[in-house]
């Protein structure tokens, strides 16, 4: 279904601040547009994005229609221990997508 791309250094050093880049394909229909006949196009966006690191929430974002299509979000975290980063996007019309990335901390 939805295609997500995550870029994160796979082998960071312990205590290193790592940058995590995320991109997910979603058209982010604003709900402010109309068709030729004047009918409103219903809003269909991703509303929340949550990231957990070994079960602990490290980042969350609330998105609005002003976020461009295919939401791209970059943030940072400290590489504390080896484990799993879990990314979860939820949105309108029951939209749910999730992705996992394993990192090995040296």
């Amino acid at each position: 279904m939805a295609r997500a791309l995550i870029k994160v250094s796979p082998n960071p050093k312990r205590g290193e601040i790592i940058e995590i880049k995320t991109l997910i394909s979603h058209e982010m229909e604003t709900g402010f547009r109309h068709t030729n006949t004047g009918a409103a196009i219903a809003r269909d966006i991703i509303t929340t994005f949550v990231v957990t690191y070994n079960g602990e929430e490290i980042f969350s974002a609330q998105l609005f229609p002003a976020i461009a299509a295919n939401p791209f979000i970059t943030f940072h975290t400290i590489a504390k221990e080896s484990g799993t980063l879990e990314f979860r996007w939820t949105g309108d019309n029951g939209y749910v997508a999730s992705e996992q990335v394993k990192i090995a901390v040296a």
């Binding site: 402010f32 409103a40 690191y53 980042f59 969350s60 002003a66 970059t74 943030f75």
Partner: protein, 167 residues
Amino acid sequence: MGETGKHLGGPASAGTRRQLLQLASSAALGGMLPSLAVRPAAATPASMQSAIAAVIGDAKLNSGRVKLEIPPLVENGNTVACAVAVASPMTATDYVKAIHVFNEKNPQPNVISVKLGPSAGRAAIATRIRLSDTQTVTAIAEMSDGSFWSQSVEVVITLGACLEDPL
């Protein structure tokens, strides 16, 4: 020859042509009016202020510590790179709790709100946003001590995000 001349210059045909043009223009006007009526109310600087007030409450909004990076001149408002970095040591006792971005003239004043913690290491985020018009974008950082810091940037948009374009 004579027939064609009559058609082009005859008073009768000029009259019908004028009527036809009037009819066409009134039809166009009629078609335009409903689309103007359904245009959503754009966010105003006042609605941005009330959205900001909803986040910061009665706290004082200081300027500084926040660095909002948006190109000053943007050709396409549909995707505008937007990066926010906050000067903070990000320790367990002094860190950035949240970063909010607001705009003045999109249909809605909010752009994004993120929650951070000391485990972020660095309070810096980047995303891509939509801007419908030339306007001011404001980023606000909420610190763990309850203070709020902000920076505003003026962005010139050549082609706004197509909010009104029919499909």
